[in-house]
């Protein structure tokens, strides 16, 4: 018997005429790891809330169909029993912690369950040991890193001993290292602790192979429920994008065959070795420094930063003599681990903070003497949170506001910008009522109306689904094609590889590597999945298309979105 059974379930949020979930049928058996994916607005978060018993209890609305947990209708469960049976971790690490201390946070759920004190101590001790949170026990939760916060959220749910663990995009706000950490935990919870896990994710590279089954949602319906390999083939036929690169590569190599699709780099390399035992690669150890030098010498750099040092008031030394020259008319991605100084560099370039030593020349102009409020003429800056831009009542006013601040007149630039970013139908709406993707476009438009030669973006793909990412990539490509320069800081390696031309790798406040995106092939951690698959082989492979053309000698292929 299945642990969790949902039959013909349809759900309407209050005051909505469209169903948010329609005819849902799911069965999850004990110990299974179910991966749920889909674009934004596909209903996967609603599904997560439903599974966690928050719908309809917390959200209200109308619901039909049945949801049985361990054979009993969930409606009949007492609240307490329900919430200890199903635990959920949400996406935003910043908003789901309620207590000031780590230990108090773990205790919060246990206290709500009214457990006796001895039992609480035991559970808290066990879960802190298992998740290695003991060293952080007395920390102020606000000062934990994003990854630690998510781990704590996970710990405080596990302490309630759920039978089913739901994770709603737990890594969407995290950097790759922290995300890998969470996925490793998920794996060991499932494999070694026997937890039943329902993982809702958009970043599939690191979890696709863990799943027993993959569910794809679209428009509130389940459109696919199959094993990951099978689902990869099916998606390829339908032109759906929820396949990580390695699986996509092999699925498109053998679209009709019945053989299992390799899902990990290891399986993939074995498969490649078996099917195409290519001659070992001609060692192309082109020294990276010469690569970067030869290409930067062509154009006069747009940004010339030399010997930047920056120490924050509380004492963290974030920039350690960084020097950098960036050419105009390119899309440059800045990569690096957390606390490597990426955001600091972006802020220095934007002129929000000024270097304590060293200087930055932007189009030959020293930016040290310019106030932040004057920088907007030279550059546009898009922060991680588009809500930071929305102070006006309509989209159109939002754009005009920037122009007014700089005393510029609107010579049709607002209209043009709205057209380019598909904001025209929204021009009269309140930007706060828009979806997150639309808000980001409004924010982007509001900094681009001054037509700056340089655009800086901080983690622009965070929380975006594949479709929005593609739109953003295309738009940034247009800017570059029109002669603009785009510098973006990101953790999203696939995005960097798909759309970036030049890569800067930061570590500990200095540049450790800089050059065309091909330098990523040589990196250990920052090599994209395809590069790791093809490491040691011939060819210059970073993306699925490049891989396919290497293997097939350039055979046409249409599955890749880009």
């Amino acid at each position: 018997m299945a642990l969790l059974e949902i039959e013909d379930l349809t759900y309407y949020y209050p005051e909505r005429s469209e169903p948010s979930l329609e005819q849902i049928n799911i069965q999850v058996s004990e110990g299974e790891l179910l991966l749920v994916t889909g674009g934004s607005g596909s209903g996967k978060s609603t599904l997560a809330r439903l599974l966690a018993g928050l719908i309809p209890e917390f959200y209200g609305g109308k619901i039909w169909g049945s949801y049985r947990l361990a054979g009993a209708e969930l409606k009949g469960w007492r609240r307490r029993a329900r919430h200890s049976a199903v635990g959920i971790v949400f996406q935003d690490p910043e908003r789901q912690l309620v207590m000031t201390s780590v230990e108090g946070e773990i205790a919060f759920g246990l206290e709500n369950l009214g457990l006796p004190r001895r039992e609480m101590f035991r559970r808290a001790a066990e879960v802190m040991t298992f998740l290695n949170l003991l060293p952080l026990r007395d920390q102020f939760t606000t000062h934990l890193s994003g990854g630690e916060k998510q781990k704590l959220a996970l710990a405080s749910v596990i302490a309630m001993h759920p039978r089913i663990l739901i994770l709603d995009e737990p890594t969407s706000q995290l950097d790759p290292v922290a995300a890998a950490d969470i996925f490793n935990l998920v794996e060991s919870l499932n494999r070694e602790m026997g937890y039943t896990i329902i993982l809702i994710e958009q970043r599939l590279e690191r979890c696709y192979h863990l799943a027993d089954r993959l569910i794809i949602m679209e428009g509130g319906r389940i459109i696919c429920d199959a094993a990951p390999g099978e689902a990869a083939r099916w998606q390829l036929r339908k032109g759906l994008p929820f396949i990580p690169p390695v699986a996509r590569f092999f699925a498109s190599l053998s679209s009709g065959a019945d053989s299992p699709v390799p899902l990990t780099v290891r399986e993939g390399r074995r498969e490649l070795q078996r099917t195409a035992p290519a001659s070992p690669a001609p060692p192309d150890h082109l020294p990276l420094s010469t690569v970067s030098r030869s290409s930067t010498q062509k154009k006069e750099p747009l940004i010339r930063a030399s010997g930047l040092w920056y120490t924050y008031p509380e004492g963290t030394e974030a920039m350690k003599g960084l020097s950098l020259e960036l050419p105009p008319g390119e899309l440059i991605t800045i990569l690096g681990p957390n606390a490597s100084g990426k955001s600091t560099l972006l802020k220095l370039l934007a002129g929000i903070i000024k270097p304590q030593r060293g200087k930055i020349l932007l189009q030959g102009q020293d930016t040290r003497g310019l106030a932040p409020s004057q920088m907007g003429r030279y550059l546009g800056y898009l922060s991680q949170n588009p809500n930071d831009y929305l102070t006006r009542d309509t989209v159109e006013e939002e754009l005009k506001f920037t122009l007014d601040n700089f005393g510029l007149s609107d010579n049709g630039v607002c209209a043009e910008m709205m057209k380019r970013l598909a904001l025209e139908p929204l021009r009269g709406l309140n930007p706060r009522d828009l979806s997150s993707g639309e808000r980001q476009r409004v924010a982007l438009a509001s900094v681009l109306v001054t037509e700056p030669p340089l655009l800086l973006l901080d983690e622009p793909t965070r929380g975006l689904d594949y479709r929005l990412k593609r739109e953003l990539g295309r738009f940034l490509g247009e800017i570059v094609a029109a002669g603009g320069t785009v510098v973006l800081v990101t953790h999203d390696l696939e995005f960097a590889v798909d759309y970036g031309e030049r890569v800067v790798l930061l570590f500990d406040g200095t540049v450790v590597s800089e050059g065309p995106r091909e330098i990523l092939r040589e990196s250990i951690f920052y090599a994209p999945q395809m590069a790791r698959l093809f490491r040691g082989r011939a060819g210059n492979v970073l993306t699925v298309e490049e891989g396919l053309s290497t293997i097939n000698g350039g055979r046409a292929y249409g599955g890749r979105s880009g």
């Binding site: 209050p14 309809p56 917390f58």
Partner: protein, 235 residues
């Protein structure tokens, strides 16, 4: 939020305070009374503070309400950060008032009180903490009563209310200093102490007034919209 009950408590508290004040005035011996009643006044104020918290403890409160009150309190606390261009200007009173006006007296009180307590964990607790908690809380609670009995208050009236609280907060805060430390308490010393802080009080009140005129209606609208959203999404 249990508005009726909260208001009853506010009324009771106000009644007790007024009686004490009248009694003092009736004797026309304010200095003498206050000299001996320093401890009494302080305990009265602290008791009022405790009563409000007991009231909150006893009310049934949903997760949403806890979330909203906490975030508004945090906002009230954060608004104490001196803003580069406006030294010494702290719109905490304003936030407590608009919160109370929209979400009711109890919520307003908790926003002001918890905002004061929470911010002092960072800025440093002092003898001022309980008084800030009480008076910012009272600003919120009184706005709650206002919102309950005069829901359609005109903008001008609300502006006056805000200005009044700007003065009142400063005056009440002075009270604890005066009562405890100024011993030959007579009218001239009383007025001197209050006169010394008058410019600051004016600034506070004027800032409150301007902030309300510039922002009050918009913020109240945002909060009302949110309250509606909060209610119809169940819970």
């Amino acid at each position: 939020m249990a508005d009726g009950a909260a208001d009853r408590w506010i009324k009771m508290g106000a009644a007790v305070l007024c009686t004490a004040g009248l009694l003092a005035a009736a004797h026309w011996q304010l200095p003498f009374l206050l000299q001996h009643w320093a401890v009494f006044t302080a305990s009265l104020l602290l008791a009022a503070l405790v009563l409000f918290f007991i009231r909150f403890e006893r009310s049934a409160i949903s997760a949403r309400e806890v979330g909203v009150i906490a975030i508004l309190a945090a906002l009230a606390a954060v608004s104490r950060i001196p803003f580069a261009a406006l030294p010494g200007f702290q719109p905490t009173t304003f936030i407590a008032i608009v919160s109370g006006y929209v979400f009711g007296g109890q919520a307003g009180f908790m926003v002001g009180a918890v905002g004061a307590l929470g911010s002092n964990f960072f800025l440093g607790q002092g003898p001022w903490t309980p008084f800030q908690m009480l008076f910012w809380g009272l600003a919120g609670a009184s706005a709650g009563a206002l919102g309950r009995y005069f829901p359609g208050m005109s903008r001008a009236a609300m502006a006056v209310f805000n200005t009044l609280w700007g003065f009142l907060f400063g005056w009440l805060m002075n009270l604890f200093f005066v009562v405890f430390f100024i011993k030959p308490l007579n009218w001239s010393s009383f007025l001197l102490a209050y006169g010394a802080s008058f410019p600051f009080d004016c600034f506070h009140a004027f800032g409150n007034l301007l902030l309300y005129l510039l922002l009050g209606c918009r913020i109240i609208k945002v909060l009302r919209r949110f309250r509606l959203k909060m209610n119809y999404t169940g819970g």
